[in-house]
Subunit: 329 residues, 2 copies
C-alpha cells in the first residue's frame, strides 16, 4: 500500500468523534491528531490518537494532508473555515443553506490564494441529498423535486425548546407525513404546504412547578420553528429523556418525479432515502470519504472551494478506475 492520507480533526464534538472512528474504517488513511479549543488533557478520545491545542495546527502543515473541520456552522465555521483553508486542504459540513453562497465565496478566495482545496457543505443535506436533487433536476427536466426529513432529531428545534421558560431539557423530532410521501411516490406531483409535509414531536422535561399548558402553548406558537407545523408536545422525566432519547437517528427522502415522451405523460419516480441510526456518525463517514477526494484534487493541482456537486463519484473511492468499472459499474 502506498503512503496513507494523513488526516487532522478540528473540534471534538459528536462529529469529530464520528470522524475519528470513521478514519479507522479506511485503511488508506491515518489520523494525525485531534485539535481542540479545550484543554487537550481533559479530552477523552475514542482512540489513542494524539491531542493538540487548536493553535498547534499552524506549525503542522507538513504533517497533515487534509484537515476535517468538525465545528458547527452557526459560530465555528464562519471563522475557522477561512482560517484553516489558508493553511490546509479542508473538508467541512457547513449547513446553513442561506449562507452557503457567501461562505463558498470566502472559502474559495482564501483557498485559491493559498493553493488549497476546500470542500464545503459536505454531509447528507447539504451533501448526498444535494447530489440527488442535481441528478434528478438534470435528468428529468420536466419534473418536481421533494425533500422530506426524518424521522430524526433537529438540533436547532431542540435548542429552541430548551430556551422556553420553564423547560429544563428537551428534544424535537421532525417526522415526514406518510400520506404526503405516498402521494409524491405515486407521481401525483402534489402542491404541499409546510404543514402537510412534516410533523414536529417534542419531548420536554419541565422544571418543577412549571406550567405545562403554558410551555406547550409557547412551543406550538413559536414563529419560524413551530407555528407553521402541527406540533405534538409530550412531558417526560429527565430519566426518560436520557434512557429513550440519547440516540441521534435521522434520515429522509429526496424524490424526483418527472415526465417524458411525446405527450409528456410517461412518469418516472427516482427516490433516494437514508435511514440513519446516528446522524453524526453517518455525516462523519461522508466527510471522511470526501477527504480522500480533496486529497486527490490537491494532488492533481486543483485549488479553491468545491462542493459535492463538483466531485466525481470515483474520487471518493479507494479503488482505482479499473477496479471500480469491474466491480461497481
Amino acid at each position: 500500500m502506498s503512503k496513507k492520507i494523513r488526516i487532522g480533526i478540528v473540534g471534538y464534538g459528536n462529529l469529530g468523534r464520528g470522524v475519528e472512528l470513521a478514519i479507522s474504517q479506511n485503511e488508506d488513511m491515518e489520523l494525525v491528531g485531534v485539535f481542540t479549543r479545550r484543554d487537550p488533557e481533559q479530552l477523552t478520545l475514542a482512540t489513542d490518537a494524539p491531542k493538540y491545542r487548536v493553535e498547534d495546527a499552524a506549525g503542522m502543515q507538513g504533517e497533515i494532508d487534509v484537515m476535517i473541520l468538525c465545528g458547527g456552522s452557526a459560530t465555528d465555521l464562519a471563522v475557522q473555515g477561512p482560517q484553516f483553508a489558508a493553511q490546509f486542504h479542508t473538508v467541512d459540513s457547513f449547513d446553513t443553506h442561506a449562507k452557503i453562497p457567501e461562505y463558498f465565496a470566502a472559502m474559495d478566495k482564501t483557498a485559491r490564494e493559498n493553493g488549497k482545496v476546500a470542500a464545503i457543505s459536505v454531509g447528507w443535506d447539504p451533501g448526498l441529498f444535494s447530489i440527488n436533487r442535481a441528478y434528478g433536476d438534470a435528468i428529468l427536466p420536466q419534473g418536481k423535486t421533494y425533500t422530506f426529513w426524518g424521522r430524526g432529531v433537529s438540533q436547532g428545534h431542540s435548542d429552541a425548546i430548551r430556551r422556553v421558560k420553564g423547560v429544563k431539557n428537551g428534544i424535537q423530532y421532525t417526522i415526514p407525513i406518510e400520506d404526503a410521501v405516498e402521494r409524491v411516490r405515486t407521481g401525483e406531483d402534489p402542491e404541499l404546504t409546510t404543514r402537510q409535509k412534516h410533523l414536529r414531536e417534542c419531548f420536554v422535561v419541565a422544571e418543577e412547578g412549571a406550567d405545562h399548558a403554558a410551555i406547550e402553548q409557547e412551543i406550538k406558537t413559536m414563529p419560524n420553528y413551530f407555528s407553521d407545523y402541527d406540533t405534538i408536545v409530550h412531558f417526560i422525566t429527565e430519566e426518560e429523556l436520557k434512557a429513550e432519547h440519547s440516540a441521534m437517528p435521522h434520515g429522509g427522502f429526496v424524490i424526483r418525479s418527472g415526465k417524458t415522451g411525446k405527450d409528456r405523460n410517461t412518469k418516472h419516480i427516482v427516490e433516494y432515502s437514508l435511514k440513519l441510526d446516528s446522524n453524526p456518525e453517518f455525516t462523519s463517514s461522508v466527510l471522511v470519504a470526501y477527504a480522500r477526494a480533496v486529497y486527490r484534487l490537491a494532488q492533481a493541482g486543483q485549488s479553491g472551494a468545491v462542493t459535492v456537486l463538483d466531485i466525481a463519484p470515483a474520487m471518493l473511492s479507494p479503488k482505482d478506475g479499473a477496479q471500480l468499472r469491474k466491480e461497481l459499474l
Copy 2:
C-alpha cells in the same frame, strides 16, 4: 442563451426515439439529425428532425458536438463505438457488464488518439445504479450492497422465450421478491441466493397446436436464463400481449447497508430506487444529460473514455455552479 449543444443520434429504435424526445426537453440542446442504417425515407421520426444515412455522418464532424449512440451492446456498439469515437465525442449505453473493461479500453484508445471524449455505459444500470453503488461503497466501507431489478421487462429473457419451439411471441418480467427487499431494508444483511432475490414471470403466446406443458417445462429449466429462478409461465393470446404488455416499465433498487461506531453496531441504510414507466425513455433522458457533460469535458480539453463514475454531478446540469449551490445544494 449561448450557442446550443448540437446533438446527433445514431440508430433509431426505442432508445433513439427516446433521445429525440428528451432533447426537446432541454433548451440548451438541438438535434442536428438522426443517422440510420435503414433507408432514411422509410423512417418516421417523432419530430421533424433531419434524417441521414449512417455513412453521411463522417462528413458532418463540424456540425455535431456530441453523437449519442443508440445501438445495442450485443452487436452494434462493439463495432460502432470505436468507429464513431474516432470522429465524434460520444455517449453510449453499453451494458454488457462482463465486457465493459474490454470496451472501455477500445473506446479509450480510439477517443484518446483522436482527441475525443467517449462516455460509455451511461443509463441506469450500468449508470445511476453504479453511481449509488460507488457512493455507498466509499461512504460506508463496512457494509453490503444489494441490487434488485424490476418489476420490469428483461429484453434478453424475452428473447430467450421467443426462441423456444412452439412460442410465437412472449415477454418476461423480472420481479424483486418483496420479502428479500424488506430483509435488506431492515439492515439484516442477509445472504441471498439468486432464487431468493428475483422471480421471473413470463407471458407466452403459443403457436396453434403447440404443447403448452412442453413449452413451460423448457422455459423453466433453461440454463442461465431461468433454471436458477422460480418462474411463472402464463399463456395468453397475441391480442392480450399487445393490449397489456406493450409498455416497457422497469426499475429497481440499490441498497447499501453499513455499520459505523466504536463497536460497529450503528446501522445505516441508504436506498436508491427507480420506478420507470418506460425504460427506454428514462435511459434516453440519462444519455442526454450526459451528452451535456461530455460537451463540457471536451470544451475543457479532456479526451479518452469516461464512465458515470468519472463525471461530477454538476457537469450534467444546464445550471452554473452559483445557481446550483443556491438552488440545489
